[in-house]
Symmetry: C2
Subunit: 309 residues, 2 copies
């Protein structure tokens, strides 16, 4: 189970409504929570295995599919661009093609990324869904391709697909190859006495961070209220530089340490400022973010304090 | 050997300069021409076979690569969208990744399509390279993905890639799953007494047709004079509806027959008008088209008359 899917289960469970869920994962692992109102069946499956996926979907015939699987590391996409691109687009195509071939009624949530916007003109900030694409990493190109394919499947074949452009997620449980989780882990390690200086990349970039618990709330709302073939930004609407976030985390953790800019953490190309507009999903679907960045950062530091006990 | 690559060989041969060419093909077949100034080596290879491709490129280390292989039928992409998309993007990625890994100096010509523009606002006609993407078929999305990946490899990894958006090619030797070749074949068959009525799809769409011999001349010029990371339209700058082309062909062939609109030939979505601007390649590289549409159509009809003897 991935970072987002675990939080989605928590969200659905807390809603109190009854759900029957089939989860597909290459590494099913253990389910942490106790989901009284959810009948859950975790199946070990690789989404690259087209025939197995088709067989599972044929058997289950779900009313809704949330496609959360992706190789979502921008950094990794620079190291292995072809692999990252192919993995991301292939698994998405395997899902939508299976549903198209089986031709049963099913709403699919296609998860895209703010990385699709890429380097954005200042006039487009905050970025609305009308801003043009300008992807500057292999990962970003894969997400643009997925979105364009989603549109083809929705408009050309009439499939019921709702599309997101999700901005940077943060929250407890995220792997430390993502920047905020990496900072939190390093800060906790330094506090505990192992390590003395933070390794960072370019901390001048400004990003729109949204707590994963607000992200999954948005996904749940879009499955009910999103419009077929439409694209929705999922973001906080606020921007912080990585430096500002780092400073906030040090205050929360009660430490004050220096940092070292590691050239290996600098990307070949990057977006200086990404701040989104969440007006569309707020106005059309009634979603709004509920968790402050300070609360998120505290929960992330608490998570790593607990993990590294 | 494909339609475009055979014409490219003819063009290079006619130039009189000396070339050493390695051609990769799944179905090498027979070489038709007599290429005195070209040392040519045709290798049987499937571009999906990443390891074999890497080994060939490592051995040959070409100064220039023209990537002409693609599943270029829009109609087929609607029948098998995932297969068409994956085939197109995978073979392109295998080529550029191999060159990136081997890190030898090499200019790559990445062939894109006017289909990337898709449904275009009237204000964008004739379409310049600044017009936005709006792909409306699985094939078109694959070509947009290829172009965006080309940009990443050029800008992010510094590779020497020149990009085209090539408009509809026509010419002798094209397979009859392309519309003009299909019309020509049907007209010739009717003239010979087999068949009495033409089968057509939507003949109101307007397209910018360019003779394949002008296309390959443009490719050759772009390899010499194109700018790294830049995109060039390759088109005639003129638009004709399929109906107008059909009428011209009937006059040339000296027949006058009716036609039947076959619903199976109508696409789920299509672009009503595509007319390109070739100003950039004309001004920056000195290319211009040299073959009139009437000459092209005559040569295509002659080709089928000869084929169906």
């Amino acid at each position: 189970m991935g970072f987002v899917s675990r939080h989605l289960l928590d969200h659905l469970s807390a809603s109190g409504e009854c759900y029957e869920i089939t989860g597909l994962s290459r590494n099913p692992g253990q389910l942490a929570g106790d989901y009284k109102n959810i009948k859950i069946n975790i199946v070990s499956a690789d989404l690259n295995d087209r025939e197995k996926l088709l067989a599972i979907l044929d058997k289950v015939r779900p009313q809704q599919v949330i496609h959360l699987a992706s190789d979502s590391s921008v950094a990794h996409s620079w190291q292995a661009p072809a692999e990252s691109f192919q993995n991301n687009t292939n698994i998405f195509l395997n899902v939508v093609e299976s549903v198209r071939k089986l031709a049963f009624p099913c709403r699919i949530l296609s998860i895209g990324s703010s990385e699709e916007y890429g380097v954005v003109d200042a006039k487009h900030i905050p970025i609305s869904e009308e801003a043009p694409f300008n992807p500057v990493s292999p990962y970003a190109v894969a997400r643009v391709s997925q979105e364009l394919l989603s549109k083809i499947y929705a408009d050309g074949y009439g499939m019921d697909i709702v599309i997101t452009r999700s901005f940077n997620h943060i929250g407890p449980g995220q792997k430390d190859n993502f920047v905020i989780s990496s900072f939190a882990r390093q800060i906790v390690e330094i506090k505990k006495g192992s390590g003395s200086i933070l390794q960072v990349g370019n901390i001048d970039v400004i990003r729109d961070f949204l707590d994963v618990r607000d992200v999954v709330k948005a996904y749940s709302i879009l499955l009910e209220k999103g419009e077929k073939g439409e694209v929705y930004n999922i973001c906080s609407g606020k921007g912080y530089s990585l430096k500002e976030v780092l400073d906030k985390m040090m205050v929360i953790a009660g430490v004050d340490v220096g940092y070292h800019v590691n050239p290996q953490l600098i990307r070949p190309a990057d977006n200086p400022v990404i701040i989104g507009s969440n007006e569309k999903i707020r106005v059309e679907c009634g979603w709004q973010p509920g968790i402050s960045i300070e609360q998120s950062l505290k929960d992330i530091i608490d998570y790593w304090s607990n993990e590294l006990k």
